[in-house]
Symmetry: C2
Subunit: 350 residues, 2 copies
């Protein structure tokens, strides 16, 4: 802490070539003590800690993460893996995770797949080797080879949205969310309820799209409605995908009066398709999504919303807690909520 007198030579915020040794010298202690004091270890006398902190501030000391990581084996970095960043759910969960990490002074290492095409590129976990203490995977199902690679990183990992066997999982109850959507449509009098679902390449019981599809099917059958394959239109989880699938669905089943879309982005595509056919969403055909996309309101999209930001935040927080010895819960399920807007309405009289 400088006295403010003119002529102070070394000022805070200087070129970052100040090492721990110089701080030690300035504080009149050993480097070991500086290291301990800087990390707030209890075995340092408070007065000493204060002196070290003062010296560090005075010299503008900034620790070297590489040196620290090399010596300790811990990187204070968490890998964030997602198939794409530009889709709403991923962007939002990643933002939540990044904030949780930043708050704990951890770094977020971003990894998105080279392209969002299907079949997607395989994830090479090796790029994270020796550089992360933990991994958050956002909604991406891993092949056996990818799981093996992930395991070899030998760091805790958590999956958001997708239920990867033998890994902890943060997400929502997809079946229940789908049932909520169907119930809403059913209450409005709809009896022919189509599903614009996840892409066919996601035929995996762990994928959220698959669970939503199952939830839709089960909910229909529980109400004595038919859930035949021609009511189920697979799509990429994008607006474009929803657009195409909806058109295909309505070509096959013109008697459809309501559509449950597996994500808000596909639902928006569905709305686009309806308008293209001269149909008014919520009057001629009802559309409900699942997400809580921030643009849903603009379109008047009825949806079952899920807390995406919080899922990312919580996934990261759990991982950090695990680093402190806490044990990772197998499942962390967040609630969903029905938001009724204008894209759903009473079934037209037959």
């Amino acid at each position: 802490m400088s006295t403010g007198s003119p002529g102070d030579i070394p000022t805070a915020g200087h070129p970052n070539n100040v090492s721990i040794d110089e701080v030690a010298k300035a504080a009149g202690v050993s480097t070991a003590t500086v290291s301990r004091a800087l990390r707030g270890l209890p075995s340092v006398k408070p007065a000493t800690t204060a002196a070290v902190l003062a010296a560090a501030a005075q010299l503008g000391y900034v620790p070297s993460p590489s040196a620290s990581a090399l010596a300790s084996g811990r990187t204070r970095t968490v890998g964030l893996v997602a198939p794409a960043i530009s889709r709403w759910f991923f962007a939002t969960t990643l933002e939540g995770a990044e904030h949780a990490l930043r708050a704990a002074n951890y770094d977020a290492l971003l990894y998105s797949l080279p392209d969002s095409q299907l079949p997607r590129k395989t994830f090479e976990a090796e790029v994270l080797a020796r550089r992360v203490d933990a991994v958050v995977v956002a909604s991406m199902f891993f092949s056996a080879a990818e799981v093996t690679q992930l395991r070899q990183l030998a760091v805790p990992a958590i999956f958001i949205s997708v239920k990867q066997p033998d890994f902890p999982h943060v997400g929502i109850d997809d079946e229940a969310a789908a049932a909520t959507a169907v119930q809403h449509l059913f209450d409005l009098g709809h009896r022919v309820i189509g599903h614009v679902s996840g892409s066919a390449s996601d035929r995996n019981p762990a994928a959220p799209t698959m669970r939503r599809r199952n939830g839709w099917r089960a909910a229909l059958r529980a109400r004595g409605l038919s859930a035949t394959a021609d009511l189920d239109a697979p799509a990429d989880m994008t607006a474009e995908g929803g657009f195409g699938a909806t058109n295909a669905l309505l070509d096959r089943r013109p008697d459809t009066t309501a559509i449950f879309a597996a994500s808000d982005e596909t639902a928006m595509g569905a709305i686009h398709a309806l308008r293209g056919r001269g149909l008014e969403p919520g009057r001629d055909i009802s559309v409900i999504g699942l997400d809580g996309h921030n643009l849903g309101q603009v379109l008047g999209l009825t949806t079952v919303s899920q807390p995406a930001y919080q899922q990312g935040f919580e996934a990261a927080r759990l991982l950090l807690a695990a680093a402190d010895g806490a044990l990772l819960p197998d499942q962390t399920i967040f609630p969903t909520e029905l938001s009724v807007r204008t894209s759903t309405g009473p079934a037209p009289a037959a």
Copy 2:
């Protein structure tokens, strides 16, 4: 390269505690040679390099980035800074940047501000100290203090979208893009053209919102139209912001027949506001945005689209080239393109 004979003890993909020394031993060379061979330095005989690579693969060697960074002073990591991830432009540019980095075997360190509220939290460049070789800043104007901090990192930095003085810049010609939008509306016969612009806290000549506002104003005046303050409605660059600003604008100036929104998300909010007032976009009032948001099509949003992904990609690529000695161009301007959809139409007959 194993011969495939059974009984091979060490197989590729093993626990990552194999160090360069063991590879050296296995290959019968020194660690220095291994280091050089692994990095493909030219001073190693091809046969030696091959032997080293084989040994490394055989042992499942994975380099330690921390050790490499500590010894060389280069981290092979680039910081990606954005005010928020969940907004379309940021998510998309970050994705582009991440892909460029990944392709060059660089890591992307993500930094987003703790919250997207205004006034935003200050960016503490110190969190990037000693851990990145370069920084990409996506559309965020820096205060003097923040610039000072950024400078102290002593690494190259590039700004996307915002024109930070004395820093290289990747972006579009915002004035021209605004002029394109105005021209389109003018051609349709509109004479009272409002602007839903960036938030008031962005009153900075370097901010893209400010430049778009200037472009709008200049384009109106060049056509002999009035561009008074009551036609200019500041908004957060979100759908919610656009919604509120549009309502305010129409309350003030009910004679408005067209709106130029500074981003697609605000434009979507504007459309929402119109519908709320019983007005049909493109018929009663025209709306044009600026971005090329992937959901624009769903809403039939006319827009001046910009290549967001490419801007991120190019920013990262330029930085990597600079690391190889190339010099950073001051300005890299990408073209924009008018996409006419249904949210704009002829001015209603007065």
